[in-house]
């Protein structure tokens, strides 16, 4: 009979050899919440944009502006949303969500942001040279925005061993271009507790 230690030895080694397995794919609904690493994910992005959109469209600044401007909707430009957090967060997804909701509501007009308009201007310049005169768009006819949407994402992390509490705070501000007045401030907080596993196979 074999001794115990020799047996354990080769059982272990066999386990090492057999440990590989195939890739598995499973489709998920975009609304489904699935947290893997505890990092910022699609669910967080969606929660933030939904909350912000609901808030920004229901506040008094919108009515006040349209009333005082004879029913003309305000024009908004999206400025920078600074990522001051602990993670490389893609802020574009929820900025895009917000832009879409603002435009689709019909109550707000949005102009191209500073990063987008460069390309548009280039095209206009090109039209000047290459397009038929009746279809050519003149320069200097852009609409100046009334408000700028800016914001920050901040995090506070408290970690001890394998445990972490993550606190995200997203602040968005709508600033009047005419006089720097802040007409709306939106805030969304998300708090997570991450307990990393301490054992694996």
């Amino acid at each position: 009979m074999l001794s115990k230690s020799v047996k354990t030895l080769w059982v272990l080694l066999l386990a090492v050899a057999l440990a590989a397995c195939a890739t598995k794919v499973e489709r998920l609904d975009t609304e489904e919440v699935r947290d893997l690493s505890g990092n910022w994910n699609d669910t967080d992005s969606r929660l933030v944009s939904e909350e912000m959109i609901r808030d920004v469209l229901s506040r008094s600044w919108l009515n006040r502006y349209t009333r005082s401007h004879g029913g003309k909707p305000p024009v908004v430009i999206v400025g920078e949303v600074r990522n001051l957090s602990h993670e490389h967060i893609n802020v574009n997804t929820f900025v895009a969500d917000m832009e879409r909701a603002l435009i689709n509501s019909g109550n707000v007009e949005v102009v191209a942001s500073s990063t987008e308009r460069g390309e548009v201007r280039g095209e206009r310049k090109d039209q000047d040279l290459n397009a038929r005169e009746d279809t050519r768009k003149a320069m200097g006819q852009e609409i100046g925005a009334d408000f700028m949407l800016k914001g920050t994402i901040n995090t506070i992390i408290d970690a001890e061993g394998k445990k972490q509490v993550k606190f995200y705070q997203v602040d968005l501000t709508l600033i009047s271009m005419a006089d720097n007045r802040k007409v709306w401030v939106g805030q969304k907080k998300i708090k997570k507790f991450v307990d990393k596993r301490s054992l694996r196979f």
Binding site: M1, L2, K196, R200
Partner: protein, 442 residues
């Protein structure tokens, strides 16, 4: 010896078991150690042939997932040296995710490490390597002109260093250079109080660096501390730093901000490599002499004496900010008792298994003995593409275009190498990062 094997009565199950064990051991341990395989890359780097080094690395990625982090770290460093900062950061980001995943204790790998050798454990980097991962990611972002993303790395670094600092007793529990760089990033973004906190931490950590690694607080850090302390109205600290650095004159922050600054970071040489050293040692658990293999750092000579940054009419010295040689050697030294204990325990397990098997079947015992000896290998893995030393120089300059030359001087004052950065654009209130990695030819 062959005669003994054929004469003994064979137990088929025993032979099967040991055969499996032997082949598994040979499969798992590979032919050459990690450190040996790196010789080729080192020669290519010394010859200045980066693409070839990268190719060699891609061809030999080590033992799959266990060495994946190591592969990614080396790849990131080589890509960075090629100036491909974006891809370098992709590799670093992958490495980060993998380290996070592998950080949990693996039952299987622990068993492997106790029965075969330490290289069966997944490599997740030593403390200083994990801190430097963030440092290099931040540098990549700074050179890509993305200071906000560099700030993300700095914050991650802060979480990591705070966790490491719990092991206060070690020589390396904080990274002074990482803290200094954090201060630079905050300063660049105009976050004065955060910059002050980071500079202050760097200063404290350099006290410890001086004691353990012989690296003293750089003068440029002193100037930064004085500027910040003065601006934030910290009179008591200002007095202390003035005395500690013996600096009487500095540019106040508002004036400093009207100028730009060139920050030069030079990495020299290659980090020390681990070599295997075997020894026979008395195992108290078994009452016999056993052979164990242990890792040992082998440092190279350090040819650089001085790093000089020269603009059109001014010259400053870049100062030593991180001595990776010293840190690596010291941290391994502190880990040696645990590594030795594990190697001893392993040797005893192997010895007992062979002995018990040998009592029933001599040939089997012999085979297990050979397998046990062959499989005894030291873990010589380390992030070998890191530099040996890091130097940092800061030169405030009025806005404009500059030609900047950097000279590496040997201990005798002769020029070892020089590099020209031409047309460097300096803007008011901003920092330009220039980096250079120099590896001495063989």
């Amino acid at each position: 010896m062959l005669a003994t094997i054929t004469q003994t009565r064979q137990t088929p199950r025993g032979w099967l078991a040991s055969g499996l064990y032997l082949s598994a051991v040979l499969l798992l341990s590979g032919c050459a150690s990690y450190s040996q395989r790196f010789d080729v890359i080192e020669a290519q780097l010394a010859a200045g042939n980066l693409p070839a080094a990268l190719q060699t690395l891609e061809k030999d990625r080590g033992n799959g997932r266990r060495d994946e982090v190591l592969y990614l770290l080396n790849r990131a460093m080589l890509l960075r040296m090629q100036g491909d900062y974006r891809q370098s950061n992709q590799a670093l980001e992958q490495a980060k995710r993998l380290i996070d995943e592998l950080d949990a204790v693996s039952i299987r790998e622990q068993a492997g490490s106790l029965t075969v050798n330490d290289t069966l454990q997944s490599y997740i980097g030593s403390d200083f390597e994990r801190a430097l991962l963030h440092v290099y990611a931040a540098l990549n972002y700074l050179q890509l002109g993305m200071p906000d993303e560099a700030r993300v790395e700095i914050l991650q670094l802060d979480v990591l260093l705070n966790l490491q600092a719990d092991g206060q007793g070690n020589a390396y529990s904080e990274d002074a250079f990482a803290r200094y760089l954090s201060g630079l990033v905050f300063e660049q973004l105009g976050e004065w109080s955060d910059a002050m906190i980071a500079y202050r931490k760097a200063y404290q950590d350099y006290q410890k660096y001086r004691e353990y690694f012989g690296v003293k607080p750089p003068r440029s850090l002193g100037l930064a501390l004085l500027r910040m302390a003065e601006h934030l109205g910290l009179k008591e600290e200002l007095r202390r730093y003035r005395k500690a650095f013996a600096i009487e004159q500095w540019t106040p922050l508002p004036v400093f901000q009207t100028e730009g600054e060139v920050v030069l970071i030079v990495g020299t040489g290659l980090a020390p490599r681990k070599r295997e050293e075997s020894m026979s040692i008395f195992a108290p658990g078994a009452g016999v002499m056993v052979r164990i293999a242990l890792p040992r750092y082998e440092t190279k000579t350090q040819p650089v004496g001085e790093v000089r940054l020269q603009t059109d009419n001014e010259a400053v010295d870049a100062e030593l900010v991180e001595d990776i040689d010293a840190i690596a050697v010291k941290t391994l030294q502190e880990k040696m008792p645990a590594i030795t204990a594990r190697a001893l325990a392993r040797a005893v397990v192997k010895y007992r298994a062979a002995k018990e098997a040998g009592e029933r079947d001599q040939g089997l015992g012999l085979l297990l003995n050979v397998a046990g000896m062959l499989s005894e290998q030291a873990d010589t893995r380390s992030w070998s593409t890191l530099p040996q030393r890091i130097y940092l120089g800061r030169q405030p300059l009025a806005p404009g275009r500059y030609n900047i030359s950097v000279q590496l001087l040997g201990h005798g004052g002769h020029v070892l190498a020089q590099k020209q950065f031409s047309g460097v654009v300096v803007e008011a209130g901003k920092k330009v990062y220039l980096t250079w990695r120099w590896i001495p030819p063989h």
